[in-house]
């Protein structure tokens, strides 16, 4: 196993090959289907957002988002049904309240709040989905790599994330 610490880049010094890594949490009923309709319409967008499917955006525990940041994500996108259209009636209402709170917590932890984006995408809004992906990719590219584990280590706070590769 390679020494993980040597593979971590210093913050804000993006190498030429660096690409933003963004995790997109999508609810299955609206946003995931919206992403599918972007695909069906062959809309092209950057490959930097990897989708994690959940049944409702209300399931997205802030802990899942911090897990992503702690493990090397440069940005996180949380998409749900439009308010009033939730398959589970009010699941997205909780997301709507949680995300601004989480953004404040992230800010305190040294993560730019712009790295977390929360939007509503309906099943028909493929165009909106592809636009959002392009927007957050550009936004995160401007901000540069996050490297949160290293950041915390340098400041001597927290115990950092468990950096052992999966499966060991």
């Amino acid at each position: 196993m390679a020494d993980i610490a040597t593979t971590i880049q210093t913050p804000h010094a993006a190498p030429a090959t660096w690409e933003p890594r963004i995790i997109g949490f999508l609810c299955y009923w609206c946003s995931y289907t919206g992403a599918d309709s972007a695909g069906t319409a062959r809309m092209k967008y950057p490959p930097n957002v990897d989708i994690v499917k959940v049944l409702c955006s209300g399931r997205i525990d802030p802990e899942l988002i911090t897990t992503a940041f702690a493990n090397g994500a440069d940005g996180v996108m949380v998409l749900g049904c439009h308010i009033g259209d939730c398959h589970y009636i009010t699941g997205n209402h909780k997301t709507m309240v949680r995300m601004p709170l989480l953004r404040r917590v992230l800010e305190d932890m040294g993560i730019e709040p712009e790295r977390l984006r929360n939007e509503w995408v309906s099943a028909a809004e493929g165009e909106k989905f592809s636009r959002l992906v392009a927007e957050i990719t550009e936004q995160v590219r401007e901000l540069g790599p996050l490297n949160w584990p290293q950041l915390m280590h340098d400041r001597g706070v927290g115990h950092g994330a468990d950096l052992r590769p999966w499966g060991e």
Binding site: M1, A2, R21, I23, T33, A35, D36, A38, G39, T40, R42, M43, K44, Y45, P47, D50, I51, V52, K53, V54, L55, C56, G58, R59, I60, D61, P62, E63, L64, T67, A68, N71, G72, A73, G84, C86, H87, Y88, I89, T90, G91, K94, R98, S130, P165, W166, G167, E168
Partner: protein, 679 residues
């Protein structure tokens, strides 16, 4: 492939066994393989720990493809399967079934979307291939945490509760009972039939509404499978699909059937009030029958008006009329509930187009009573007591409102939607009047005419041929209605006609009919009880307008008729029939199978803090006060996972989406890959 050995991570059954993952990467006939190097993907994935078989296939959803999956499961003893292909919405179920056929639990499957979310949207081939590898490795990470799951089977009591005794409720009850289902029909007013008995001839056939309603009502009354309660108030509803328990308060009717000389009791009543059946054109007593041929066919007492003077009791000799009866509560058990409470008519504001100010301004519903042969004028067109030589119709009163000119309703909204039925109903009334009184001058003031339904356009054509004058106004500058200053006619309508390119018109009229729109009833109690979704137009919202058009998000609840939005009788009965057949289909299965992705409380971790009780959108969680822990009702839980994200003790997990499963996926996507690839 000994270096690929790994163990399943799942807690519970299946945990700790050797992980044997089979991965099938689909070409989709080039849809994927033209962009993604599927061969390389399959090779790289094949090196991950736990993956014992990894291959590509031209069309894995084809029969040979599915057979291959089944074969490999048996041959290699696979215990997890991943198919990387199109969106799971297309074929997830297909492959789950293939697993089941091969004897493997269908939930040990993961579908990776590398078409809609990769090959169709990523331009660069190398990037697309990398993304496919990331996505599939996330699936590999995820499947190691999967555990076998079983669908939940909820038994369904073969009975239905229909709320609302209008045409939609009657139709739904009748069709359900025809399928042998025990039906309870509750109606809040003392008589069945809803709004329909107040209408005259109905488009598109022109037949009388009561004549059409009669056989539907007879079918309900004479069906032994249907129990009907009038004067019934919805109090409480608990339970869930298959076993709803609804408490209904039965208010006394006051009058028993077959009381001899009951007409004398009506005649002797000293109380008088506006008759809602005739839209306030006439008066009725506090003990009353709304119309000839109503059901139940004997009078009821209007408790709001009755002073309990006792004269009616005296007249009938003290028997059959009881003014002291108390309401009683009953509990109704039902497997499903059909909501058919209908809608209301928009009531114009005082002064809107002169309504309330001028006696000659009436609503279309009132006109319907006047042209009804059994109406207050015996079918004669008498408005404010006078015969009519010229009449105007004003469209879109209370519908298609603009925020620029219309004050908001008490809830801050405006009725910006089309009420659909009023255009054709107006045109129908115009043709009816023209046929009866060829000399009558009829003017039609509209901003737009929408005769959208089958045969509706015929009324427009007929009205044009009969000489109805159509005047089109600008919706932002609606016509003004004033008393005629020259007193040639009671009122005058001033407007600018768009059809003649802005000609200013002054139309003197004997009467003006407002085609009032349709609005949702105040259903706050119902919405609270059944956790209904409400649309911006205040009508109840179905799960999906095309895919599940008559169902509510809570299982076992159906919508029938105009509770969903403005509908004419044709559409209401169609909606009610659809709701009845969906409900009957559900009941005939005896059990409902539900996805197993529900939440579960780990009692040892639960602190009993109750936060989950408040966030659950379906009231599926209660608290066991003896144990001090949260309890999730499996039949009510829909698996949104909101409580899972909320629980401060991590005491709630969700089957299929627990923290380990989702986190392993996140880690794999971020390159925390199995050692074989990371090296």
């Amino acid at each position: 492939m000994s270096e690929n050995s790994a163990r399943t991570q799942g807690s519970g059954n299946g945990g700790g066994e050797e992980l044997r993952i089979g991965v099938f990467v689909c070409h989709c006939g080039g849809n994927i393989s033209d962009v993604v190097d599927v061969q390389r993907v399959a090779e790289e994935i094949g090196r991950l720990p736990g993956v014992v078989f990894s291959t590509t296939h031209m069309f894995i959803c084809s029969d040979p493809g599915q057979v291959l999956i089944e074969q490999k499961i048996k041959e290699l003893n696979l215990n997890r399967v991943i198919v990387a292909a199109c969106s799971p919405s297309l074929h997830e179920l297909t492959f789950r079934r293939a697993l089941a056929r091969a004897g493997l639990n269908q939930y040990l499957y993961e579908h990776t979307n590398i078409r809609e979310q990769d090959s169709w949207v990523v331009v660069d081939k190398e990037q697309a291939t990398q993304k496919a590898i990331r996505l599939i490795s996330a699936s590999v990470a995820r499947v190691s945490h999967l555990v076998p799951l079983q669908k939940r089977a909820i038994p369904i009591h073969p009975s239905a509760l229909v709320i609302g005794g209008g045409i939609a409720g009657l139709t739904a009850a009748r069709y359900l009972a025809n399928r042998g289902i025990e039906v309870t029909l509750i109606e809040s007013s003392p008589f069945l039939g809803g709004r329909m008995p107040r209408l005259a001839g109905l488009f598109p056939t022109g037949r009388q509404a009561r004549e059409l309603l009669r056989p539907v009502m007879d079918a309900v009354i004479n069906n032994p499978k249907i129990t009907t309660y009038t004067n019934a108030e919805l109090i409480q509803s608990t339970g869930f699909i298959g076993d709803f328990r609804t408490t209904v308060r039965l208010h006394p009717r006051g009058v028993e059937p077959d009381v001899p000389n009951v007409q004398a009791a009506i005649d002797v009543c000293p109380e008088q009030t506006d008759d809602e059946h005739n839209f306030e054109f006439t008066k009725r007593k506090a003990i009353y029958l709304p119309y000839e041929g109503c059901y139940p066919p004997y009078p009821a007492i209007d408790w709001k008006r009755c002073t309990k003077c006792g004269r009616c009791v005296e007249v009938v000799g003290g028997k059959g009329i009881n003014l002291a009866e108390e309401p009683r509560d009953i509990e109704i058990q039902s497997g499903v509930i059909v909501i058919a409470v209908g809608l209301e008519l928009y009531r114009p504001r005082w002064g809107e187009y002169g309504f309330g100010q001028l006696r000659e301004v009436i609503t279309l519903a009132q006109l319907q009573r006047l042209i009804d042969p059994e109406g207050p004028t015996g079918g004669k067109l008498l408005i404010a007591g006078k015969p009519v030589r010229s009449i105007g119709f004003m469209h879109c009163v209370g519908s298609m409102q603009r925020k620029e000119i219309h004050p908001p309703m008490p809830d801050g909204k405006i009725n910006d939607y089309c009420s659909r039925v009023c255009c054709t109903a107006s045109l129908h009334a115009e043709t009816e009047l023209k046929a009866r009184y060829p000399d009558l001058h009829v003017y039609d003031f509209h901003e737009d005419i929408r005769t959208y339904g089958r045969w509706h356009e015929d009324y427009y054509i007929r009205a044009s041929e009969q000489g109805v004058a159509f005047i089109r106004f600008n919706p932002l500058k609606p016509p003004r209605v004033e008393p005629d200053p020259r007193a040639e006619a009671p009122l005058v309508v001033r407007t600018v006609d768009r059809l003649t390119f802005g000609e200013e018109l002054e139309v003197p009229l004997d009467a003006l009919v407002l085609a009032t729109g349709l609005v949702a009833r105040n259903m706050s109690r119902l919405v609270d009880l059944f956790r209904c979704s409400v649309g911006p137009d205040r009508f109840l919202l179905e799960v999906h307008p095309k895919l599940r058009p008559v169902e509510l998000a809570s299982f076992g609840l159906f919508l029938a008729g105009s509770v969903q939005g403005p509908m004419d009788t044709v559409e209401s009965t169609a909606g009610a029939a659809a709701a009845a057949s969906k409900a009957a289909g559900l009941i005939s299965q005896r059990h409902m199978e539900l996805d197993p992705f529900i939440a579960k409380v780990t009692e040892e971790l639960c602190s009993g803090c109750r936060i989950c009780l408040f966030v659950c959108p379906f009231d599926a969680i209660s608290r066991d006060n003896k144990k001090g822990v949260a309890v999730i009702n499996e039949a009510v839980c829909t698996g949104c996972g909101t409580c899972v994200a909320t629980c401060p003790c991590n005491a709630i997990t969700q089957f299929g989406f627990n923290d380990e499963q989702v986190k392993s996926e996140i880690l794999a996507l971020l390159g925390r890959l199995p050692a074989a690839v990371a090296a």
